[in-house]
């Protein structure tokens, strides 16, 4: 923890309401975003955030600061959201079942082809500007993220949407660095796939 974090912790323990309100406001959107990974509605996501803060307050007297307050808070949030999500929705998304490859193996040439392991169906080209700016592409991105397996979704939202660094993301998710790398890598490949499909449908 940094000095600022120790000061913050002292302020909270001393009952400084302004400090608490600032945390609630500063971390609110990111916490809601993470909660939404596991629960179906905004209203339930708010419940998750509330429960998280109550758990944080309960745990605060014993919190030793081995990780940062933010990392600790966000890891509690994910646990609350995961267990609420399990109660709210018991069906696994399809993405969890077909999950082993970054790019579908059929897209590469086979052993008997001219160049085994090279592209058979190469990536369709897109206009980067459109990928970054168009509302339709954004919607395609959002739904691609929503369709990922839960852990992949956590990894990509923490790292790429919320900009949390990898080390912190591992702690928040409670996974090893290697595991996190694999989750993130597959998630990015899948989301790229979805964008590619989006552009192909547009072109058709």
């Amino acid at each position: 923890m940094t000095q600022t974090e120790y000061d913050l912790l002292d302020a909270l323990r001393a009952g400084d309401e302004v400090a608490f309100a600032r945390l609630v406001d500063d971390w609110g959107p990111a916490m809601l975003r993470l909660a939404r990974l596991h629960v179906p509605s905004r209203a339930v996501a708010e419940e998750v955030v509330q429960e998280t803060w109550l758990a944080v307050l309960r745990g605060l007297p014993a919190f030793e600061g081995r990780s940062s307050l933010k990392t600790w808070t966000f890891s509690i949030l994910l646990n609350v959201a995961r267990s609420k999500g399990r109660r709210e929705r018991r069906i696994l998304p399809f993405a969890a079942l077909r999950d082993r490859h970054t790019v579908a193996p059929e897209r590469f040439q086979g052993r008997r082809d001219e160049r085994p392991g090279w592209w058979a169906v190469p990536p369709a080209r897109w206009d980067p500007h459109e990928a970054l700016e168009s509302k339709a592409a954004q919607a395609a991105l959002q739904s691609a993220v929503a369709g990922l397996a839960p852990r992949q979704r956590e990894a990509i939202v923490l790292r790429d949407v919320l900009g949390v660094d990898s080390e912190e993301a591992c702690q928040i998710m409670g996974v090893s660095e290697g595991n996190h790398r694999v989750l993130l890598h597959r998630a990015r490949a899948r989301v790229r796939d979805a964008l590619e499909r989006h552009f192909e449908e547009r072109a058709a």
Binding site: A14, G15, E17, F20, A21, V24, D25, G28, P29, A30, L32, R33, R36, A45, E46, V49, Q50, W53, L54, L57, T102, V103, P105, F108, R115, P116, G117, W118, W119, P122, P123, R125, W126, P128, A131, L132, A137, Q138, L141, Q142, V145, I156, D160, V161, L162, G163, S166, R181, L184, H185, R188, A189, V191, R192, L195, E196
Partner: protein, 75 residues
């Protein structure tokens, strides 16, 4: 390195985590393969685009008030 091997390493490549020798093999493949150049560029664009997505709105005022009350009670 084949295209199939390359796509499995893109994440580590973009995050700068490939060992030097592997990175050189990666770059050597990219130099001769426009399809993989497009692929790597698209993953990079995807990551950029994700970073530009709107996050979420603020907490609702009612929920915020409940929390501040809970804090007052706790402290």
């Amino acid at each position: 390195m084949t295209c199939r091997e390359l796509v499995a390493l893109v994440g580590d490549y973009l995050d700068g985590r490939l060992a030097r020798a592997e990175r050189e093999r990666f770059d050597a493949h990219l130099a001769v393969c426009p399809d993989c150049r497009a692929y790597v560029e698209q993953v990079r664009i995807t990551v950029d685009a994700l970073g530009r997505l709107p996050v979420e709105d603020d907490f609702s005022p009612a929920a915020r008030t409940t929390l501040l009350d809970a804090f007052r009670e706790w402290s």
